[in-house]
Symmetry: C2
Subunit: 537 residues, 2 copies
Amino acid sequence: MTRSKKERLDAVAPMLEGKVLDTRRMVDALHAVLDPHDRVALEGNNQKQADFLSRSLALVDPARVHDLHMVMSCLTRPEHLDIFEAGIATEADFAYAGAQSLRVAQAISDGTLRVGAIHTYLELYARMFLDLAPRVALVAADKADRDGNLYTGANTEETPTVVESTAFRGGIVIAQVNELVDSGELPRVDIPGSWVDLVVRADRPYHLEALFTRDPRKITDVQVLMAMIAIRGVYERHQVTSLNHGIGFDTAAIELLLPTYAESLGLKGKICLDWVLNPHPTLIPAIESGWVRSIMPFGGELGMNDYVNARPDIFPVGPDGTMRSNRMAAQAAGLYATDMFIGSTLQIDAEGNSSTVTDGRISGFGGAPNLGSDPRGRRHSSPAWLNLAECEGARGRKLIVQTVQTYGAKGVPHFVESLDAVEVGRKAGFATTPVMIYGNDITHLVTEEGVAYLYKARDREERRAAVAWAAGATPLGLSRDRSKDEQLRRDGVVASPEDLGVRRVDARRSLLAARSIEDLVEWSGGLYDPPSQFRSW
Amino acid sequence: MTRSKKERLDAVAPMLEGKVLDTRRMVDALHAVLDPHDRVALEGNNQKQADFLSRSLALVDPARVHDLHMVMSCLTRPEHLDIFEAGIATEADFAYAGAQSLRVAQAISDGTLRVGAIHTYLELYARMFLDLAPRVALVAADKADRDGNLYTGANTEETPTVVESTAFRGGIVIAQVNELVDSGELPRVDIPGSWVDLVVRADRPYHLEALFTRDPRKITDVQVLMAMIAIRGVYERHQVTSLNHGIGFDTAAIELLLPTYAESLGLKGKICLDWVLNPHPTLIPAIESGWVRSIMPFGGELGMNDYVNARPDIFPVGPDGTMRSNRMAAQAAGLYATDMFIGSTLQIDAEGNSSTVTDGRISGFGGAPNLGSDPRGRRHSSPAWLNLAECEGARGRKLIVQTVQTYGAKGVPHFVESLDAVEVGRKAGFATTPVMIYGNDITHLVTEEGVAYLYKARDREERRAAVAWAAGATPLGLSRDRSKDEQLRRDGVVASPEDLGVRRVDARRSLLAARSIEDLVEWSGGLYDPPSQFRSW
């Protein structure tokens, strides 16, 4: 029998001054508030981490607090796994594992971590409003006032969603903040104090991961080639105006070719106007060259705040002059308001199924399954969307593009007969294989061989042939019947760089609008302030 | 060239006391704030209407304010169309038209209303965060304090979404409220004052539509039969635990059979636990009988507040003791967190495409396309979802159920060879036919003939045969090759009441847990306070 919210708040009340908890009493407060088997939301975003609260949670006494059911979008910090090893928590519903993917697989195998399900972000938030409402939420904010009002600014991310789904289900909301200020001293309110029960100043500012920063120095000539292929064979061909770019160097290369290569093709103003995207530093040259009309961000990006705040015409900036992101709204926009998702992957099988689960790692899905899916409820049309319609008058289709080099850095082919995910899923006892994007959802596949227009394949056999064609010199690619290649090209199911008017010899890094982080800083007029690990000067 | 936010606020400043506008200056304030061609969000929810603001907007001088581009979920009040006839507005992006559906069709035909697109709600909200951000938002709240903080309570609906998408894109937010209170006197804050520019006390409380109230007296024996068929042939067979019920008497009948018929089948605790649903009065008996675990509502329902607030174990009730709804979160939950959507329709064609567009009416889509779609990004599994998987290990599928009597009240068949929507869409110049739910998205069709398991059809021909079977004695149904019926039944593609163990003679109104509004009030312990038009006593 778990206690009511009132009983829990009564237990912690002696430690509080109003809603404010002393930093040193954090572990005591968790003991007072938590019951065994509670469903607990712990904010571990893609970027912002409630790390004071997660480190404190790892210090509770497992004899008093145990068997928690964690609901968290990301299992990304070491202590996120420590709590399972200690028995403080035993079950998790999550979306992404990232750096902890190996430990997650191990913990599942050891039986210390029971997986409810691995979700895509929007799916997890959806369930938090219905059957996964948290009893206690542990979140992070930039500032709080003494009434519990929170300022979350550029890194608002998922905080309002986690707080709302908890506060209106009789749950308790605890926020760690970087700074406590007096009433009325917040730049603005992002989350009303009436939804928040406890605020505590963290021992140090919350950890922020520079997840979407890509150093242009590391972009290769092959990635430039693939970016050119994508621009001609996908963006230009379908006149894609609204889109989401997944994380990685492949899409960073595309961003950096807009003001150069794409501009030389006369595409400015015709493609890439509206973006659902974190503030990618590599998009600065395109923004400054007038390519971009609007950006809706999932979160902030370390070092980008001054630049973003100076462009309220592009980013969502509040009356106070600072950005507000919103992970749930951006995921909805990425699902329903964009014509294209393009992202990199690690493995693609003969059917076109793609996954980032490899080598026994369970990395989760993040936003890709949602962003990389055709919303069957969509009813507005656009030229790009209609371009994929099966016939006149029929509904269109979202472009779901996967881009991948045929071989990885260590000579490991990215194309395989069967995904590692099949074996990983079997071992973990999942009901379905942890596929990130299913082959029959993918419409285009881009490799250095060219574009496979999978949506044009007439049947499963032709689809497999197109995947194998894109797989080039990998074993999967070499095993194909090459006598069919010419027919595939004539039918427009595949297109080589030559078919698209892309000259391989032009694919040079010198085409990139910025070739280093310093270049990006210069494009930003000095407003971009890169994190130290990206500074070479 | 439109003015900046600052210029507009400066123009209205002389009329304000802080953020508070005098009720009598509303039209003047709109003249001061609006520019021609502005994109304007006007809150016309399914239920809550910003009617003081819409009536005021209809009074502006079209010489000064004209060609507005309206972004609004519902075109439901007369003045919503008046502004187009007056030239104050010329374009609309919307989701639902309801009572104004005939005038909408007329205005499109006359050329006074240009349709951007007709959306499903979540799709429209998604675009408001990207390419349809409003310059000015006109919304409604229960209460505001003098700092602009808003209390929206049970009818929070879409207000936070509209406000956020405007306030963080340099737009101006104007809220009409029923009551102005002093700072600190709100029950709770639903929307922070830092997002709101102007508040004004409305001339009368906002209009609220009792859209989801269905009088059990009007439920027929045939609807009871269809409800029994649905419970046995769909809910029980697939063990559906999470679901959304569309509006109407068909689903109200199902709700009222849970504590009687379904209970007699031993289904309590096995089906219908978690609901995405407005507070339907007809669900009270199931809630009071312990059938329901949780409900996530899109909005409130007139007369249901006291009952809802007394069940914080079921509904999202805040620390202040009143409910908060959230249309965007509920639509996301309906998309990603439920296993089934079941709703009524008006027309179904031979392919299973369904539409509520008939007789030249353009009624829009509302939430049905979103709720009635299989989210391809879903990655968590459940027994019901896996039950529809094509094979072992493959992903499952959401149940999309349409329920309809073969003939309508006036002897008009609901099954047709071709939807009226085709002609309506053609006349209006739409790029695609305004289909509410596409035939290849529907998994089950329920009529008084039984259940057609469309997801089991092996090809288009078998699918058409199953639709025609369900169409019974309508011309579409009679035109079928009846010699195939037996094979369809043997293959489990269709099932009659007899196949499902439903006795037609048992289908009586007496099975309903409540047979009148009075019965519902009694079930609620006197807490449900029905609107006067539903009172016969």
